[in-house]
Symmetry: C2
Subunit: 360 residues, 2 copies
């Protein structure tokens, strides 16, 4: 080992979801929106003047913060923005989770929670989902230094009813509860309406899914002014300029077209519900997802086998080789056409597969 | 105090440099480039398709990494990119500074080094500049867990000759030495040429100054493959997608126009050298800056008084009310016209000021 290497941080290796460069791939592996951003984004792009790029962006991200506040019916002082919800969540962990008591989150959940906890030396304790992959609100009644969970949860897609979310928040007013709503726009009811009643509630959302802007890296948090002020203080203290000029302007344009947003979400919900029926016919079962993906396992064909077969056919889905979920595939809801191609492949592959089974 | 507040991180308050919204301000306070980005950036902006934004960007930032590698004569495996050099530096602190021995940096220097050290629980020890604000290479000969310094230093603008930079790197091969070259393109010689000889050397640069792209938040590091691999491992482990699609494409366009880059740097250097002569005539002295700013104090007029008077005249410069440097103003080198307006104001203000003095 070379001298300098002894002081190097060695994280557990992580490989981000594939972004294949070939065309003609059906990409159902990273929960992206299959539709383009709102038409206003194109217009905002066309009117941007590159001469403005020479200056630092507004560190308060005013343009974007105000657009989000107006859309969500909050004041700008109740909105914090970051480089994707990953940046917002990491900043919230750093700002609010400084207790010696463990923070709580589900055992099967978004894979970055334990990473950030370890990064910032935050003790944590995972709460197991029930056998049907449900969050049990009772598990969040113990002493803790903070709580975070996605709603709908990932990668299950299951939605915790707002009453149960509220119960968790109400029973933990001595700590900050973060509700990570990356997928809430596909059929859930946001906890944002509870913000006026609970000052310990931070709701985190993203432009990556329902707003078709994964490529622009925009996430945000809603919470009472005091929480948001704390987040901004921490952010300013060590990296003042995170949102680039393009993200500010294009994000504003994306959020301003409410009709397009609603239509896109409705299309995805409708495709998802159709997909549930088709997958059932094809021999899959799955939790009743309220997100833009399905978490499905097949009655007979192993998930890893299916994952490989789909990949060879140019259809990318996600497979997690992890305890409790290794029988499942996470399939993003694409366009109607993409889903039809998926079903056609599955139908032919699975019938050939069951013939192979019978011959054995 | 409310319950949840006891676990909140409370950083020292920090106010980022002002970004005034009024027009007609002469903005010499944040070391931005007074010229627009390369013409190719406009073209890249015009040909971007917003439909691409629905997908996550390439987490490896391939487009941009390859363009920087080609420009600098390195291989893509020797280049790491981040959201401004602040992000790159913070990631480098986190990756390489994990010793129980203190890291070393100058006492008067970039103001985020101690912030990141505290954030990541890294012990540190500041080495005082000499009375002429010079870094003394002898101070970096003691036991340490890593070294970081800007070259040219900020806010002094002083350049450490490459031989002395090399001596610091050579004598510390058991730790990583970060040379933060945000301002190197305005007359300095980069330590990048030493990378093939020293595997403990990381050179950090930015698009915010010499490339006129502060608004796009692009920074990068050059170093041997092993160092860059470590940086990427840490980055991927907790935030895979940091560079948005616009930064990747526009950054590539900015780096590809070498002639424009050279011309812009030469114009700024020429304006700076003229400014040195004019400021001397006006009664200022200053370290001999090799950056795109001057760090100047006036023979008689206090810096804070001048700062306020300039501000009222719509000319923004930077004033740091800190030990050892409270007599100085940091003045960014603007266009020739902006500098003429600065000198005209100073000439009239200072002559009125000395009349006021004489009457007393």
């Amino acid at each position: 080992m070379r001298g300098w290497e002894k002081n190097v941080r060695r994280p557990a290796p992580y490989v981000p979801g594939e972004q294949p460069k070939e065309k003609n791939i059906i990409k159902l592996n990273t929960n992206e929106n299959p539709y383009p951003p709102a038409p206003g984004v194109r217009e905002a792009l066309r009117t941007m003047d590159p001469a403005d790029f020479r200056k630092y962006p507004d560190p308060a991200a005013g343009l974007l913060v105000e657009a989000i506040a107006a859309d969500r019916g909050f004041s700008p002082e109740e909105v914090f923005v970051g480089v994707g919800s990953d940046d917002v969540l990491a900043m919230a962990f750093l700002t609010f989770f400084n207790s010696s008591k463990p923070i709580l989150f589900p055992d099967i959940t978004y894979s970055f929670y334990d990473v950030w906890a370890e990064l910032f030396h935050i003790p944590y304790e995972c709460q197991p989902l029930d056998p049907d992959f449900r969050i049990r609100k009772e598990d969040y009644r113990k002493e803790n230094g903070g709580i975070v969970f996605p709603n709908p949860n990932a990668p299950t897609g299951l939605l915790l009813p707002l009453e149960e979310v509220e119960e968790i928040i109400r029973e933990n007013q001595d700590c900050v509860v973060i509700v990570d709503e990356a997928y809430i726009d596909f059929g859930g009811r946001s906890a944002a309406e509870l913000i006026p009643r609970y000052e310990n509630l931070l709701v985190v959302q993203t432009f990556s899914k329902s707003r078709s802007m994964a490529g622009m890296r925009i996430g945000y948090a809603l919470g009472n002014r005091e929480l948001i002020r704390c987040l901004n203080d921490v952010k300013y203290s060590f990296n003042s300029y995170t949102m680039n000029e393009a993200a500010l302007r294009l994000g504003k344009a994306a959020v301003e077209d409410r009709a397009y947003f609603r239509d896109t979400c409705e299309k995805i919900i409708s495709t998802r519900e159709k997909a549930k029926r088709r997958l059932t016919e094809l021999g899959f079962d799955f939790p009743d997802s309220m997100a833009n993906f399905l978490f499905a396992r097949h009655r007979t064909c192993p998930a890893e086998t299916l994952f490989q077969a789909l990949r060879e056919a140019g259809i990318y889905v996600r497979y997690f080789k992890k305890p409790r979920i290794s029988d499942y595939l996470r399939i993003t809801v694409g366009t109607e056409e993409e889903m039809e191609r998926l079903f056609a492949f599955l139908e032919s592959y699975l019938s050939a597969d069951s013939e192979r089974e019978e011959k054995r």
